[in-house]
């Protein structure tokens, strides 16, 4: 089955055509998981790629992500109960003392678009809240954002809290935010650094060995 029209509609951010195409594919006997993987997630892969190359811009990316969300909603009833497979569970949040959420929200949207299931803890998240949620959800990845030099050390504290609770080996840690650098990520013992939403997806896939 070809998903070209669906791919184009998601990339363009045309909600109406995309949801119609999603349901059309279902009616034609398409498997819901295939439609998700080869249609919607594939479209968002292309969007992410174009975004990192500077060929698409933030508002276009948001529009595509919104379109995908609507398609997923339309597709959900066609999965047998809880059969939708996820690429992995990611806990995400802006660290304690920091209220910046724009970058974190962009990262969340692109990770969702790539087929991960996301638990967004919001802003001003203390280390123990990250740890508790990672434990409870058995998360595969933790994504932390900080936009201030004064709140970056909270990333270190969170990683230390993961070590202390014995969870460090169960979860990969990605950090980002304007003042954060690759070197800082290495220094504090994070597994990876993502300077933008597109690379957050690539890094998450790399860490979990997903092609």
């Amino acid at each position: 089955m070809s998903y070209q029209t669906l791919l184009d509609a998601v990339i363009k951010g045309d909600i109406k055509t995309a949801t119609e195409e999603t349901l059309k594919a279902v009616d034609a006997g398409g498997n819901a998981q295939d439609i998700l993987d080869q249609g919607l997630i594939e479209a968002m892969n292309i969007v992410g790629d174009k975004f990192s190359k500077g060929a698409m811009f933030v508002p276009q990316m948001l529009r595509s992500a919104k379109t995908m969300q609507e398609c997923v909603e339309a597709l959900k009833p066609h999965f047998q109960e809880n059969a939708m497979t996820t690429k992995g569970k990611i806990v995400i949040g802006t660290v304690k003392g920091d209220l910046h959420d724009i970058g974190k929200n962009l990262v969340r949207m692109m990770l969702e678009g790539a087929g991960f299931s996301i638990i967004d803890l919001g802003v001003d998240v203390p280390p123990e809240v990250f740890v508790d949620k990672i434990k409870e959800a058995k998360a595969d990845v933790l994504g932390m954002s900080a936009l201030l030099s004064t709140t970056m050390p909270s990333m270190t504290k969170t990683i230390k809290a993961l070590v202390d609770s014995g969870l460090r080996d169960t979860v990969k840690v990605i950090v980002g935010g304007a003042p954060v650098t690759r070197k800082y990520a290495e220094d504090i013992g994070a597994d990876s650094y993502a300077p933008d939403a597109g690379s957050a997806v690539l890094e998450a896939k790399k860490l979990l060995n997903i092609s």
């Binding site: 933030v58 508002p59 209220l99 724009i102 802003v123 001003d124 003042p179």
Partner: protein, 266 residues
Amino acid sequence: MLIVGENINTSRRGIAEAVEKQDAEFIVQAAKNQADAGADFIDVNAGTFVDRETEYLCWLVKTVQDAVDLPLCLDSPSPDALSEAIKHHRGEPMINSISLEKDRFDAMLPIVTAQPCRIVALCMTETAMPVTIQERVQAAGELIHRLTAEGVAPTNIYIDPLVQPVSVDTRMGNAVLGAIKTIMNDFPGVNTICGLSNISYGLPMRRLINSTFLSLCILQGLSAAILDPTDKRLMANLLSTRMILGKDEYCADFIDAYQNGILIKD
């Protein structure tokens, strides 16, 4: 219109390298270029060096003021870095910044009231970034109330309405413009200040967007801007906007800039 030159910030690669190598000459040149281009204050920010921010910020203060006779805008969210940097500053600095988040306000208040200085106050609410005009104006009112209660002169307060990208939410431009207008109208004597580049995050042609945004901010009464004064096109836009809005008597600033070669592109 007060101009704060933004170029000495360690989030810029050249500056970060110069600071690490303690290359005073490079920093002095960046400061002089901005002073020559019309900066009233030179911003210094070493925020990317988390562990050495205080040390580097103090070094920047000394290095810049050794070469340029201008006050500085000491730019850090860290009370420790600011209180140390102030000790090395000559004249009255601008301190960037204080906000209503409880810990930050309490830690910053004794620092900004210890000596005469201009204070940049961010329109953050206590628990979130502001979205609407109303949230910004409310935060501004609270900041002004609490600062003046501690003896700060309204004219030393610079409210930053917090510019956020229109790429993420197309209401963000109007939210800031409306807030500037209301704050300038409701709180006589108080100033408004903002940076420009956040508005264009995630979009192409960012310099054009920043420049257009600056004009609209000036129209609403913005009293100070944090920008790159060596960007000649931006400065030409600033000067012509002020002139058209009747803020430049006899068009003198615009003509002077032209005759001094500041408006010529490159």
